[in-house]
């Protein structure tokens, strides 16, 4: 219509003439549609005078003046029936939305506060064991099934119903380790009674006896077991690391490297022929299953309890250490860990990666669980309850949503991996809102107020004071070192970084 506004004056005149000849009713609401050809305009104008009652826009001509006034038809902006959803016309012009940044900041602040309000990570406690729970195993095919081994027997759990499905007396004394075969049809256990037993996953029928499929009698106590990802091969450790074929009763290969005992052995889930083990001489030893001798080992200041490979990054693993820290190594460069994860105030007993490989969870003797991003030096989350004692074993569920912790006081606890996450199905709008607030929190995460709120955690008094004490000790040590360096010959006291401090040597 704008283009047509520049028509010749003669057109206007003809049209005004027509207007005058027309019925005077129309004079109050004349609509004008000029055209380039005066002949056509004559026809058009007559036609449009008839059509005019349909046209609600007021684009007008009188005395050769052109005027348009905003005149909205409410039907365009209001829903037609009550069953419709409301119409929301949008205009994204920034000048109609002032204070964009302060409003977003306020939203981010609110989202952060709500996150802390809704942070209720504890879901359930599975009780039924009559002794401390020593180990757990995830089912590779079923999310709802979980196995736990205690100091006297072992149990299979159904997580969705939160009840025990099956109990069996597997070993005399401690169950030291257990693992489910990759196909999910059977599982292996090792115990203090020097046996490896293979069990069916299915519950035996009525009248059948609970009997293992296979039993292998070993020479010494086994401390840990892990199964190959694709083949019928499993590995145990005790006095040495043994690789077993499922079909044979003697190990197909045994490794030892001047050590008398190992505490943990794990297959690499990506490079399936690789293994790593933690030994009691403070070393972590790497093996290739295809070779006769171990690959290499790194000796650290203190003993590592367990380790876990990153399921997404084949080279990386994290080990939980007695010196309250966790260390993430790249297996190609063992001379220093690429991240040291600090925050625990007592020995770290177990570690497990999330299936995404972005985070891992650690269990500690200090009665807490902490979640670390894989490349951050400090934890993003700490879980604890009044009744939870030393946490011995920890697992991150395969759907990345839950964490299971087994502790000394005979209970297994189920936690949310993301403390404030809403469980269950989300409506699309809900999901969009969650994503939006997540993005906002990310955007404003460095603002001091938001940062303070999002980092705030309540800690038990003992842990709070202990971590404070540790901080003071560390600072004192740092200060002393600095003073010594200041008063000694330049260059005689080289600066040793935190990462380098904990590694004694690498042996190949």
């Amino acid at each position: 219509r704008r283009d047509s506004s520049g028509t010749s004056r003669s057109n206007w005149k003809i049209n005004t003439m027509i207007m005058k000849t027309n019925n005077s009713i129309y004079l109050c609401r004349q609509s004008f549609f000029p055209s380039r050809n005066s002949f056509f305009s004559l026809i058009f104008s007559i036609f449009f005078f008839l059509m005019e009652s349909l046209v609600c826009a007021s684009f007008i001509h009188i005395h050769a003046m052109k005027v348009k006034v905003l005149s909205r038809n409410p039907d365009d902006y209001v829903r037609e029936t009550k069953l419709d959803i409301q119409r929301v016309p949008r205009n994204y012009d920034p000048s109609l939305h002032p204070f964009e940044v302060p409003r977003e900041y306020t939203r981010a602040l609110n989202a952060t506060k709500l996150e802390r309000v809704f942070a209720k990570p504890f879901l359930a406690s599975l009780d039924g064991h009559r002794d401390g729970v020593n180990c757990m195993a995830k089912h590779p095919k079923s999310l709802s099934t979980m196995l736990s081994g205690s100091c006297d027997g072992e149990v299979v759990w159904n997580l969705t119903k939160r009840e025990c499905v099956r109990t069996l007396q597997a070993h005399e004394g401690f169950v030291r380790g257990m693992v489910v075969r990759f196909c999910g049809t059977s599982f292996f256990t090792v115990g203090d009674d020097k046996t490896i037993k293979q069990w069916k996953m299915e519950t035996p029928g009525y009248g059948e006896e609970e009997e293992p499929l296979n039993t292998i009698l070993g020479k010494s106590v086994f401390t840990s077991i892990d199964h190959h990802q694709k083949e019928g091969v499993f590995v145990t450790c005790g006095q040495q690391v043994d690789i077993w074929d499922e079909q044979r009763s003697s190990p197909i290969r045994s490794f030892s490297w001047g050590v008398d005992s190992f505490s943990c052995v794990r297959f690499n889930p990506v490079e399936t022929e690789l293994l790593a083990s933690c030994a009691s001489d403070r070393s972590i030893v790497l093996y290739d299953m295809r070779e006769a001798t171990p690959l290499k080992k790194v000796i650290m200041n203190m003993r590592s309890n367990t380790l876990c490979w990153n399921p997404m990054e084949a080279y990386n693993f994290t080990c939980s250490n007695e010196d309250y820290n966790l260390y993430t190594y790249d297996m190609r460069y063992l001379d220093k860990p690429f991240t040291v994860h600090m925050d625990h105030v007592s020995a770290v007993l177990d570690v497990d990666y999330s299936p995404t490989g972005k985070e891992f969870v650690s269990a500690s003797f200090d009665k807490t669980i902490r979640i670390f991003p894989k490349d951050s030096g400090h934890s993003r989350e700490v879980y604890h309850t009044k009744r939870m004692q030393h946490v011995i074993s920890i697992k991150w569920s395969s759907d990345n949503k839950y964490i299971l912790s087994a502790s000394d006081e005979m209970n297994i606890r189920l936690w949310k991996a993301n403390a404030s996450e809403k469980l269950g199905l989300l409506a699309p709008r809900e999901k969009a809102a969650v994503n939006y607030s997540q993005k906002l929190k990310e955007k404003f995460q460095h603002h001091p107020q938001i940062r303070r709120i999002s980092r705030h955690r309540h800690l038990p008094k003992s842990i709070y004071s202990q971590s404070k004490e540790l901080r003071v000790m560390k600072e004192a040590r740092r200060r002393k070192e600095r003073n010594v360096r200041k008063h000694s010959k330049p260059g005689s006291m080289p600066v040793v970084t935190e990462k380098e401090k904990h590694v004694v040597t690498v042996v190949k």
């Binding site: 506004s5 004079l27 109050c28 609401r29 004349q30 609600c56 826009a57 007021s58 007008i60 001509h61 009188i62 005395h63 050769a64 003046m65 052109k66 005027v67 348009k68 006034v69 905003l70 005149s71 909205r72 409410p74 365009d76 902006y77 209001v78 409301q86 119409r87 929301v88 016309p89 949008r90 205009n91 994204y92 012009d93 920034p94 000048s95 109609l96 939305h97 002032p98 204070f99 964009e100 940044v101 302060p102 409003r103 977003e104 900041y105 306020t106 939203r107 609110n110 603002h447």
Partner: protein
């Protein structure tokens, strides 16, 4: 027979393979030859139909292959306009937010990656917004006269005659001669009108449907009226105190902390009611919790000129000495003090984008300022001066002089000589206010209220989530909850509202000062030299002084040595650079050989 025909067929194929590849210059001759061969083949084919079949099959295969190669474009033609349609530059600029910074250097690859990705996202958002502009349903209004006709001579009646009934009904007058003159306010959505007569008459109505919501007489002088965040509440500044009523006219609060209020402004995103009083106090009331945020004594006498900047929520006060001061609740002193007029300031208005401020003064001038740079842009002389100013969403300025309301267009651009529109009210004008999202100017005067049609004043397309004139009760409730949740704290009011998203590049000095303030001492300060006590008369005051001097001298020498070294280093670097430059320049030109 079939076998023999096959052999016959193979012959020419083998022959073809042995030939050298055809050249384009040989094309015509070859074609001729081929034609001849084909002719021969055709002769053969006539004899053996089976043979013909195989040939066509092969041909078909070849054709298929060719088709396969060209499958990317079915028709064989390439798209003359590949990719999505370009977005015009000026539309993109409308949605531009901030300036693109430099990318972090390559070693910081993680940060660099994050920055690149976020910038790509914001670019996409900007483009999508600009594209969406095409979908906006309404166009802005306009008024154009004849070639030699001034638009200001067009009367309201002419406009009403020309436009449709609903638009024409927006021109109306309310004759309220008993309790005038009237102040007025439109609600944020532009749906509701609040009128306050000087002699106590307060009324609010849905002005489009002309439905009265409440009407009362407060039996006191009314200085100003203001809608709060929604049409459910309004504030009335009465003779002594500030009162808050709901839309039924029920008095909800009488706020005794706010006395002698003359003018009020409501900051909708902060839920703050700013009041200026006859005693010189600027006070802020948080209407969401009902608490006074701050009371500032401006020490500038009676405050009866007030405006707020919708862009950054800063209050502008006009004073009788010709200055305009800018205030936030966070500072007891004015942020800025501008001398705008030689007489007193009569009225102030600030535009939607926070770029321009228009003031009128007792010196009968109308001035336009750029309030980002605090620079005067235009100065106009109005014969009678303007008592009330108001700016519309699309930048029209209405100025009331006596009983005449003039509307100007684009006062900050090229100097304006004639008003865009003019209208004579029945009484002297007391308040003017443009209605948001409508082409309407409300004029409160001694004889009541007039609603004027001003084409092109209002923003044609509203945002349904921000201010929706057609919202239902449910939508209003939802909006209210959301708006309350994202209420901006008064501490965040400042000159630049986007400062919160910018990186704080504090200098080393600034950080050092902060550190000293936190610690209470300067950790990097040099220790003062205290000479050691020595025996046998070597610590006599003269000797001590001498030793002190020696140390000070040594320190000074160190400093001098350092600076000399630094300077020499810089000199050396510069010389090397020059040398390199000279060498490069010496090599550079091939035309140097012709130089004399």
């Amino acid at each position: 027979m079939a076998a023999s025909s096959e052999t016959m067929l193979k012959k020419p194929h083998v022959g073809k393979k042995r030939k050298p590849p055809t050249r384009y210059w040989e094309g015509t001759e070859e074609e001729g030859k081929n034609d001849g061969k084909k002719q021969k083949e055709g002769d053969n084919n006539e004899q053996t139909p089976q043979q013909n079949n195989t040939r066509t099959k092969k041909g078909g295969k070849r054709g298929g292959k060719r088709g396969g190669a060209g499958k990317k474009v079915i028709s064989g033609k390439s798209d003359p306009f590949p990719g999505s349609a370009p977005v015009p530059e000026e539309k993109l600029n409308k949605f531009k937010r901030g300036v693109k910074g430099e990318l972090p250097p390559r070693p910081q690859y993680k940060l660099r990656d994050v920055v690149i990705r976020s910038e790509a996202a914001s670019d996409l958002a900007q483009k999508q917004n600009a594209r969406y502009d095409l979908m906006l349903p309404e166009d802005a209004g306009f008024l154009e006269g004849d070639e030699d006709e001034d638009t200001c001579t067009i009367s309201q009646d002419d406009i009403v005659d020309a436009v449709d009934i609903t638009a024409g009904a927006k021109y109306f007058s309310l004759t309220l001669s008993q309790f005038g003159p009237y102040r007025l306010d439109y609600s944020k959505t532009g749906r509701h009108l609040l009128l306050g007569g000087r002699r106590g008459h307060v009324t609010c109505l849905d002005w489009q449907s002309k439905q009265l919501m409440c009407e009362m007489n407060v039996m006191e002088t009314v200085n100003d009226v203001k809608w709060l965040h929604s049409e459910a509440l309004f504030a009335v500044a009465q003779k002594k105190w500030l009162y808050i009523y709901d839309n039924k006219g029920i008095e909800l609060h009488c706020i005794r902390k706010f006395n002698d209020v003359l003018r009020m402004q409501f900051l909708p995103y902060h839920f703050l009611l700013a009041t200026a009083s006859a005693t010189g106090f600027l006070q802020y009331l948080d209407v969401s919790v009902g608490k006074e945020v701050v009371a500032i004594c401006t020490k500038a006498g009676r405050l009866d000129v007030m405006a707020h900047n919708p862009h950054n929520a800063i209050i502008h006060l006009g004073h009788s000495n010709g200055t305009v001061t800018l205030w936030t609740p966070n500072q007891r002193e004015p942020l800025v003090k501008m001398l705008c007029h030689q007489g007193g300031v009569r009225s102030v208005a600030v535009d939607k984008t926070g770029t321009y401020m228009v003031t009128s003064g007792m010196d009968k001038k109308l001035k336009v300022y750029d309030i980002r740079a605090y620079r005067p842009l235009q100065s106009y002389f109005l014969p009678a001066g303007a008592s009330c100013l108001s700016l519309s969403q699309r930048g029209l300025l209405s100025a009331a002089t006596g009983d005449i309301v003039q509307v100007y267009r684009d006062v900050w651009g090229i100097p304006v000589t004639k008003p865009y529109m003019a209208h004579r009210a029945k009484g002297s004008v007391w308040g003017v206010h443009f209605c948001p999202f409508e082409d309407v100017l409300g004029v409160g005067h001694g004889e009541g209220f007039t609603s004027m049609v001003v084409p092109g004043a209002g923003e044609p397309n509203f945002d349904g989530l921000d201010a929706n004139p057609y919202r239902s009760a449910k939508q209003r409730q939802e909006w209210e909850v959301k708006a309350l949740l994202e209420k901006i704290q008064p501490e965040l009011i400042g000159l630049d509202p986007s400062q919160l998203s910018q990186v704080d590049h504090s200098t080393w000095e600034q950080r050092h000062v902060d550190r000293v303030q936190v610690l209470g001492f300067d950790p990097l300060a040099k220790e003062k030299f205290t000479p050691r006590l020595k025996t046998k008369g070597r610590s006599s005051s003269g000797k001590v002084e001498k030793r002190k001097k020696q140390v000070a001298h040594e320190d000074q020498r160190d400093v001098i040595r350092q600076t000399v070294e630094d300077r020499m280093k810089i000199d050396k670097e510069r010389k090397e650079k020059e040398k390199k430059k000279a060498a490069a320049a010496g090599q550079k030109s091939a035309l140097d050989r012709f130089r004399k």
